[in-house]
């Protein structure tokens, strides 16, 4: 099969569609920032008592008096060449954001882990034991999960597991000695520093669960419904008529049930990134989301747009991975 050639062609075609998506996202973020009636230059220079000379320099440096399209052009050029300097810190904004990214990525991985190891089995169990207590639990979980705000849930968990029970840690990030990928837990795993792995788990397990909480219920519901649909389909009935073994019939049902789940997991990943700022703030995790929240407070638009740009890239790449997985699972899908 010329699957690899198909994938290459597909990747090339998809890479082209990235460009308008990324331009669109950053442009929207830029327009929103631009529309805010504030004087960022004044704020960056130190507030009301700022030196007019400094304010003037900043306006010149960031083209703040130019029309919006010129400003946007310089912003994007600065982000892409990593030459735009953060007005608060003095680092290039992309360097700063990228240094924060591994932490957010680790948080999202923990949340995704819960989504997969809790969401999928819970869905299957509630499909197999339809209308049992576990089915009711999953239904309630999905409803509560989407209704409860992350910050509330986060504080409740902190109260119980940190304040009352003292099981977890909510300060600092334990880094391993080696630096390979930059993601602490992965580096610790690669270099075999098991105590650091354990400390990372202790630090991230609760924020990860909080971030994934709503998604677990959603995934479980989806798995339940698509598994029920698969198990009641004609080909499963025919598989029984063929006298296939129970295990094999379940494999057929499960693989068919997972086709829609893969898509939603991809979308959920984007949703998790979107939820990261709140979770990171509640659990004081120094990730990208936290940096973006701070950037909003200080009207640090370059940082905000850089962050948006990065999240958009991750989202687009995730979708690409989902599409490839989708075609691997379901032969009816063409590249």
């Amino acid at each position: 099969m010329n699957l690899m050639a198909d994938i290459k062609r597909f990747l090339a075609r998809r890479a082209l569609t990235f460009i308008p998506t990324l331009i669109g996202v950053t442009f929207l973020a830029y327009i929103i920032a631009f529309a805010i009636p504030a004087n960022p230059a004044q704020a960056w220079a130190g507030g009301i008592k700022a030196n007019p000379q400094v304010v003037h320099e900043i306006i010149k440096e960031y083209h703040l008096n130019d029309p919006w399209y010129v400003q946007y052009y310089y912003f994007m050029k600065g982000i892409l060449t990593n030459s735009i300097i953060d007005p608060r810190w003095g680092y290039p904004v992309m360097t700063y954001m990228l240094s924060r990214f591994p932490i957010t990525f680790q948080l999202t991985l923990f949340a995704l882990f819960f989504l997969i190891v809790l969401g999928i089995p819970l869905g299957i169990i509630s499909a197999l034991k339809k209308d049992s207590w576990i089915d009711a639990l999953v239904r309630t979980w999905a409803l509560v999960g989407v209704s409860v705000p992350i910050f509330w849930l986060g504080y409740i968990f902190i109260y119980i597991f940190f304040y009352q029970l003292g099981w977890i840690n909510i300060a600092g990030i334990p880094y391993p000695k080696v630096h390979i990928t930059g993601v602490p837990i992965i580096d610790a795993l690669l270099s075999g520093e098991w105590n650091i792995v354990w400390e990372n788990i202790q630090r991230f397990i609760l924020p990860g669960f909080t971030l994934g909480f709503a998604g677990i219920g959603v995934i479980a519901r989806l798995v339940r419904n698509s598994f029920l649909e698969a198990i009641n389909s004609d080909f499963i009935y025919f598989a029984r008529m063929r006298g296939l073994k129970h295990r094999r019939i379940m494999t057929h049902a499960l693989r068919n049930a997972l086709v829609p789940v893969v898509t939603v997991l991809g979308l959920q990943f984007g949703g998790l990134l979107g939820g990261a700022p709140i979770t990171e703030t509640v659990f004081s995790i120094p990730g990208m989301g936290r940096a973006m929240v701070d950037a909003i407070f200080y009207m640090d638009f370059p940082l905000l747009i850089a962050g948006t740009f990065l999240v958009a890239i991750i989202y687009v790449i995730t979708n690409l991975i989902v599409d490839i997985l989708y075609a691997i699972i379901d032969p009816r899908v063409r590249f």
Binding site: D234, F235, Y237, R242, G243, V259, D330, P331
Partner: protein, 332 residues
């Protein structure tokens, strides 16, 4: 080619009742059903949509779909001459029989095949799970032979195809080779050609007849097409609203129909064995099986209905050797 030649029974249905427990009420899909299929014969079941043909065929391997249940009766399967009651077997024992000794060919091949697996895989897994091949490699070799036997073009390539890559006729050929893969003793074909176009239908029926003859299989064929009945079968059971109303050798049914429903049916479709001037529909509609008509289930549509038909259910009686009718006209 009639009853008495086939002395050795392969399956015997005795006094079978199948009910469906739905929210609207209990659907009495099959009542008081008894018939025997003999080794090596081609047994046919005809009737309108919803009369219980498919349910009967599923009951033979005790795989009536939910919410249906066999509530009463026996299905005796003669396994190497030893009778076993399918209704009493465990799910594990049934699994070993299904697909190996009693195999099915279903009506809609597009939805019967798993879209995510190649047809080769699906043929081979049917053999692997019944231990009729020693490994997957041998299984794939066998699958190619089977596909060649059902006249699939390019079988070596086709085993690597997914169901959606095949035409309707090719898919049905794949389903037939799954049915044949373990060389079953009884092959149950449930309207195997009704979802296909006419030319493919004819080819596949011809193929089916050839395969049954070559491998000495017993065939239980379900259809609503009298033409197919005339071409394919040795004996026919005519089903109406969950009851067998007439059972006879195929020539008897066409030349000497006794039940008013059979007569109506033959006038309503082009009769392959007699010239009729004009097709006449049977008046009325099929009854609701939650509240079936009392007495004879056909009486509301029957031109010969009498008082007794409304009160009492007629028994199935043998009026000449091998010819059974369930009708008060012939009961005395």
């Amino acid at each position: 080619m009639s009853g008495p030649q086939f002395r050795e029974p392969i399956i015997e249905v005795k006094d079978l009742y199948v009910y469906f427990y739905t929210y609207a009420g209990v659907v009495k899909a099959i009542e008081d059903m008894s018939f025997t299929i003999y080794k090596g014969e081609k047994f046919c079941m005809v009737g309108e949509t919803g009369c219980g043909k498919s349910v009967t065929s599923r009951a033979l391997a005790n795989i009536v779909p939910s919410p249906g249940r066999i509530v009463k009766g026996k299905v005796i399967y003669y396994r190497d001459g030893k009778p076993v009651n399918m209704v009493e077997l465990s799910e594990d024992q049934l699994r070993e029989i299904r697909g190996k000794e009693i195999a099915y060919i279903v009506q809609d091949p597009s939805s019967a095949l798993d879209p995510l697996y190649t047809i080769g895989y699906q043929i081979v897994e049917t053999m692997i799970d019944h231990n009729t091949v020693k490994d997957w490699k041998e299984g794939y070799k066998r699958a190619v032979e089977l596909l060649r036997e059902v006249l699939m073009p390019d079988p070596e390539k086709r085993i690597k195809n997914y169901p959606h890559e095949l035409s309707g006729g090719q898919r049905q050929r794949a389903v037939i080779s799954i049915g044949l893969s373990n060389m079953p003793r009884l092959l149950i074909a449930d309207e195997p050609t009704s979802s296909l176009d006419v030319t493919v239908q004819a080819q596949l029926l011809e193929l089916l007849r050839k395969l049954v003859k070559e491998h000495g299989l017993t065939l239980f064929l379900i259809t609503h097409d009298m033409g197919v009945v005339a071409e394919m079968c040795d004996r026919v059971a005519v089903l109406y609203a969950g009851n067998i109303v007439e059972l006879a050798p195929v020539d008897e049914i066409f030349k000497n129909p006794k039940h008013p429903y059979t007569m109506g049916l033959l006038r309503a479709v082009p009769n392959p064995q007699a010239d009729i001037e004009k097709l006449e529909p049977i008046p009325g509609t099929i009854p609701n099986l939650i509240y079936p008509p009392p007495g004879c289930r056909f009486h509301p549509r029957c031109p010969f209905a009498r008082d007794v038909c409304k009160r009492e259910k007629p028994p199935l009686i043998e009026i000449s050797p091998g010819h059974y009718v369930r009708c008060w006209l012939h009961a005395q």
